[in-house]
Symmetry: none
Subunit: 260 residues, 2 copies
DNA sequence: GGGATGTTTCGATGCGTGTCGAAACATGCG
DNA sequence: CGCATGTTTCGACACGCATCGAAACATCCC
């Protein structure tokens, strides 16, 4: 019988440790030459080349030749998303008690994922937009901009009608891998983030992907979304998240169907 | 320095075709006994047991013993999410769908998933409710009923405040097998479907799980959601090919000795 | 108790594939 | 042109693991 867009074959490509390390090394979306990826994976150049060829054929990577170098990068955000989600599956919930570095903390709080806002701030802002009825989460991993939303965006100087939708639509749901919740991505997310910068709500760091919120930004975030600095900066009870309990709940739910 | 619990090991567990088939068979969140999963994967019971043990140890599955059966289910929504995203990568293979039997077509169009509405109709209605702003999709696989929604449900004779939420909440997002999109489940979904029956919008078949829409129902669906019979009955655009139609069908049939 | 069914453990077998050395190919530089 | 560097191809080897038969264990039903 014919196979489907095989989930197993895709997983098999990621399953090899060396390949996985290369993929993780490419998670930031930038392109790297084969030799560097070989070093990342801890294998020889020949082995790496074999792996890269398979990942390429499998549609996980894209390649660009430049001189005698060949630069590999992830084939797209969907690959990054799949990788990040895979990371959420673990044999045991490794308790991250180990204190994060200062930079890591900043990254967890707010950062740019490609060119849109991510991290705890990104998730909170997206949730705020949903709560206000500006966005509507549709089932194909997108957001829809409501008329309320269009008006609100216009109010801060963003004409939604002028933004050109990508093939994946105007606004995508992007899974945040530290927060494990969705945040606003897609062209709208990019433009929105850009506006926050030019309006001086946030400031992007030069070297890293982290983002800093200005005093003006905090005022605005509170006014528009009710986001308070104190609340957002607090360490979140990251351990024992909703997932485990949800799992048992789905069982409860199955049961409840029984008696009819 | 170990950041993630090895993305490779998680992928390796999914990489095996037999294991992948079992996982896909469990994507709906329900629990199934080991023997049925063995049949889904096309392997012997011994082999399946070995696989299930590994998936269990890897944290992808949870198990519950009941009598001489052992019911396996996905460990949580994060696993389902990872699997779904994994399916989004890989060479885009076009799978020509085998002609379905008349009964299978009816099932695909509209059916009851336990006691709530599923199939293409179920998905369309849910999408309608979302578009109208009656429901809000939240990130933990649930729906939230907006004030608009409460009013609308009241208008057709459903007092949302009187429905007792289950532990999984009032309204769940249930992944539809054939449509691969979410539809309304949970107590609200059950009550809503029940109302559609008593109000004569739809009629449930006695023997099968398929559902028929009455003329009155079509009028109402069009009025409330803009759902037209012609549009909905048309063959799907095929851009989302039915994944594992074989497995899904055999699953439906084998459901005869379901959990209790 | 005894037979039937569902599930797991153990041991042996065979295939797939990740690995590296050697060598070929490609490009840049003096 | 000759050498260095980056990358890929080829061939051989070895390890891992999926698979199944046989058998043990568990539970239900008569």
């Amino acid at each position: 019988m014919g196979s489907q867009p095989n989930i197993a074959s895709a997983a098999a490509l990621i399953a090899d440790p060396a390949r996985a390390m290369m993929l993780v090394a490419l998670l930031d979306g930038r392109a790297r030459p084969a030799g560097e990826l070989a070093y990342c994976a801890g294998v020889t150049a020949q082995t790496a080349s074999s792996h890269l060829g398979k990942l390429l054929a499998g549609g996980l990577l894209a390649v660009e030749t430049e001189g005698r170098h060949r630069y590999y990068r992830l084939a797209g955000p969907h690959v990054a998303l799949a990788l990040e989600n895979l990371a959420s599956i673990g044999p045991v919930e490794i308790v991250r008690r180990k204190a994060l570095t200062r930079e890591a903390q900043k990254l967890q709080f707010a950062r740019c994922c490609y060119d849109h806002l991510a991290g705890r701030l990104g998730v909170a802002v997206t949730k705020g937009l949903l709560d206000k009825g500006c966005l509507l989460a549709t089932d194909n991993k997108r957001f829809e901009v409501t008329s309320v939303g269009a008006e609100w965006f216009a109010g801060i100087g963003l004409d939604v009608a002028k933004i050109k939708p990508a093939r994946a639509g105007l606004a995508r749901q992007c899974l945040d891998w530290t927060e494990r919740q969705h945040h606003l991505a897609g062209p709208l997310g990019v433009q929105f983030t850009h506006l926050l910068c030019t309006e001086g709500w946030i400031r992007r760091e030069k070297a890293s992907r982290s983002v800093e919120v200005t005093p003006k930004g905090w005022r605005n975030f509170k006014e528009h979304f009710g986001i308070e600095e104190r609340v957002l900066m607090e360490p979140v009870p990251l351990d024992a998240p909703a997932q485990r309990s949800l799992a048992s709940q789905s069982l409860e739910n199955n049961r409840s169907h029984g008696p009819r």
